[in-house]
């Protein structure tokens, strides 16, 4: 019997890449795509890397494909925006060795800054999209994607969503089959996109998409399941599972390829069912096309563009059932928070005390926007803190930003923040940038990057020095400060913000969750000395709680002895003890 294993969607995608004979995989971490690369690492046959950003990752994959090997890049939905420059033109160049971009959407915004639909980008870029609906298909569709890529001379997007990426289900394992590399031949008409060449390739792109639309009707991944024909659903991905759960008797057209749509198959299906529903999360991508062909159907009139779908949504909107179970009301929310011993909390507590505003960025430290830290005023996208602060200065003048800083993590700085810093120096800004260097990509679960000195494969390599990088860009004022030394941090921030020049403060201290971190100490509160002033509670460390008498307790299973509360206590009522 074939070997079966329960796999996370992302693990299955990695397995699919392995079985498809992928040779090169590049990515930048981003929830919910990160575990793809983390699982590819186990396959020694695949070269896998963390690239500094998604644009670079996509270009690495394109290069590998041009050379004749099968290659892939993975990213989250907003990562595809960063990679959209290579994507749109890779569409013209097509593929030599199979080329697949795995892109993970996040309906429901579990860990993202927007809820965009990758299918819209793919339609604009004229790139086919496959969408699996469980772990088994995640693996199978990877292989399908590579076959389509080579057959139709196109990059292929495998679109997933958070629910697929982070659900587990049984997967049947097969052997790895490595197709022979395609021969590399110099072919500027295909691989050099200048106007003359691109004009001709655009013709190929149109023909290819037409062919896919026509022949897609026969793809086994697009399948019509005819049952009771009074109700029919056109659906794909995880929403297919909700349809099967709630309406097992209905007819279903399950699309494995969601762009381009197999028009003939859809027309045929629509003609055989009485009431046609389009059940797709996020944007009405299928619905609008189907309606444009003059087919009557119901979609966003009933189902929202917002968030994740569910079986209960179908029960309510299609079957008219009332959902049992009432939630208890007015419960305190439990939003995510910075961990105990997080160096960001320390830096933010200083910014909070100095009443400075911060232009923020993407990472754990975005949590500095909420109570009780309330430091971060803005967050747009990866690398944007530095450039948006620069924009404010150019609009309002240098005095206006004297109570502002930009805060950005080390990984985000290496991703695209460095470009913004170059701009600030080049265009004579005077902003102060705090690079919160915790030696890892924290939010996504601790991935290495070019400044950590280790690769995805675990190889030790020379780390790029953020200090020297800033110096090389031309920042005169670069200071390194221990993130947990709040006196030194306060002094550095006051001095640098006052200067009429660009300054970089590197707030150094490793992420508390890094496995290499050891915590020999813990903080202990002394209730006799405590004056109940609450200063230690201000930064919102979850290890600290106020007792009924107003004194403080510190949970010793959570505390790792960072000592921030101890520094804030004016009465010496918190001491450091060995564990």
């Amino acid at each position: 019997m074939a070997k079966q294993k329960i796999m996370l969607g992302n693990e299955a995608i990695a397995r699919g890449a392995y079985e498809a004979g992928v040779k090169v995989s590049a990515a930048y971490p981003g929830t919910p795509s990160t575990e793809i690369s983390e699982n590819i690492v186990q396959y020694e046959e695949i070269y896998a890397e963390w690239s500094p950003n998604e644009k670079v990752a996509a270009e690495v994959a394109v290069g590998a494909s041009m050379s004749g090997a099968r290659a892939m890049a993975s990213m989250k939905h907003v990562g595809l925006n960063v990679a959209s420059d290579p994507l749109y033109t890779a569409s013209y160049i097509g593929a030599n060795g199979g080329l697949v971009f795995v892109v993970a959407d996040d309906p429901g915004l579990y860990s993202s800054q927007n809820e965009q639909d990758t299918r819209c980008v793919a339609r604009a870029a004229l790139v086919p999209v496959l969408e699996p609906s469980d772990s088994q298909e995640a693996k199978d569709f990877m292989k399908e994607a590579f076959a389509i890529s080579e057959e139709y001379d196109t990059p292929v997007i495998l679109r997933t969503t958070t629910r697929l990426a982070h659900s587990q289900g049984p997967v049947t394992l097969e052997e790895r089959v490595v197709p022979e590399d395609k021969p590399y031949e110099r072919n500027p008409a295909k691989n050099v996109m200048m106007p003359g060449m691109a004009k001709k390739r655009h013709i190929h792109v149109e023909q290819r998409m037409n062919r896919l639309e026509e022949e897609g009707a026969g793809f086994s991944i697009n399948k019509a399941e005819y049952n009771d024909t009074s109700i029919g659903f056109i659906t794909s991905g995880i929403p297919y599972q909700y349809v099967k759960e709630v309406c097992p008797e209905a007819s279903v057209l399950k699309l494995g390829m969601v762009h381009p749509l197999p028009k003939k198959l859809i027309q045929e299906f629509a003609s055989k069912v009485d009431q046609l529903y389009i059940f797709e999360e996020l944007e009405p991508v299928i619905e609008e096309q189907v309606k444009s062909w003059g087919i009557a159907c119901t979609g966003k009139e009933l189902f929202t563009r917002q968030g994740e779908y569910s079986a209960n949504l179908l029960r309510e909107r299609v079957l008219g059932e009332k959902i049992e179970g009432e939630a208890y009301e007015n419960l305190p929310a439990r939003p995510p928070i910075l961990c105990p011993g997080c160096p960001h909390r320390s830096t933010f507590s200083v910014l909070n005390r100095l009443k400075l505003h911060a232009a923020g960025d993407i990472g754990c430290y975005t949590l500095g926007a909420v109570a009780p830290l309330n430091v971060i005023d803005t967050t747009l996208c990866m690398g944007s803190s530095i450039s948006s602060l620069h924009g404010m200065e150019m609009a309002k003048g240098k005095e206006y930003i004297k109570n502002w800083v930009a805060v950005i993590g080390d990984s985000t700085f290496m991703h695209t923040g460095v470009n913004s810093l170059m701009n600030m120096v080049y265009n004579q800004g005077t902003g102060t940038v705090i690079i919160m260097d915790n030696s890892t990509t924290g939010m996504t679960g601790h991935q290495d990057h070019a400044a950590t000195g280790k690769t995805l494969k675990g190889q030790e390599v020379p780390a790029i020095s953020i200090y020297h990088l800033c110096k090389a860009i031309g920042v005169k004022n670069v200071v390194e400060v221990d993130a947990f030394d709040i006196t030194a941090m306060e002094k550095a921030i006051k001095e640098e913000v006052a200067k009429d020049e660009v300054s970089v403060i590197i707030a150094c201290a490793p992420c508390a969750l890094l496995k290499s971190q050891k915590f020999p100490n813990k903080c202990v509160a002394d209730s006799d000395k405590c004056k109940k002033c609450g200063m230690c509670l201000k930064p919102g460390c979850p290890a600290l709680t106020r007792n009924e008498d107003g004194t403080i307790s510190i949970d010793d299973t959570m505390c790792n002895g960072c000592g921030l509360c101890r520094q804030l206590c004016k009465f010496d009522a918190i001491r450091l003890e060995e564990r």
Binding site: Y110, R163, E324, G325, A333, L338
Partner: protein, 189 residues
């Protein structure tokens, strides 16, 4: 067999994902179709987290919805209350009797509800345990989640030996013995 729905809820960082791995292991060993769905990313940083486990002859949907859970395993009292409406009418609510204040309570923006177990007990079949205290008795507070699994196991279909065997296969080799003890502490509680 009708599909069984299990939910595990708690606070990010409490180790709910280990519990779902052990559950997944025992279900697969029994030969059922199974789907698990969990939360990664930002919510893992101290937020409210939920894991869904569904198993049976054929499982489609990967999540458990309101009014459908056969067993709800809550690692913290407030989280038990937050998700209690996911239970079926006759579903079992297993609560680790522990309070963790969310930041909204710490900052004074909200109050932690009084007598959660009492409220829940009026509406649901509740089994509570102070798993942290049990784990401390065993000398390792970290295995409190395995104590909770032990309590949950009493309300599920699998045999004790099967649980012990899957624990052995799932946890790091050095911690097998203490985890099996923790399981028994919950199972026999």
């Amino acid at each position: 067999m009708e599909t069984k729905n299990i939910m595990i809820v708690g606070v990010g960082g409490q180790g709910t994902l280990l519990t779902s791995r052990i559950l997944g292991g025992i279900i697969q060993a029994a030969g059922y179709d199974v789907k698990l769905s969990e939360v990664h990313g930002m919510a893992q940083r101290g937020g409210s987290v939920v894991t869904f486990v569904r198993y049976g002859d054929k499982v489609y949907e990967p999540i458990v919805e309101e009014g459908q859970a056969d067993v709800l395993i809550a690692f913290e009292r407030l989280e038990a209350m937050r998700y209690a409406h996911f239970l079926k009418k006759d579903g079992v609510l297993i609560v680790n009797d522990q309070r963790m204040d969310p930041m909204t309570v710490v900052t004074g923006a909200a109050e932690y509800p009084e007598d959660i177990l009492g409220t829940l007990g009026k509406d649901h079949k509740v089994v509570s345990i102070d798993a942290m205290a049990e784990a401390k008795k065993l000398g390792n507070s970290r295995v409190f989640n395995t104590v909770i699994i032990g309590v949950a196991a009493k309300n599920m279909d699998f045999k004790e030996e099967e649980w012990l065997s899957v624990i052995e296969k799932t946890v790091p080799p050095k911690t097998v013995e203490i985890n099996q003890k923790a399981f028994k502490a919950g199972f026999e509680a």
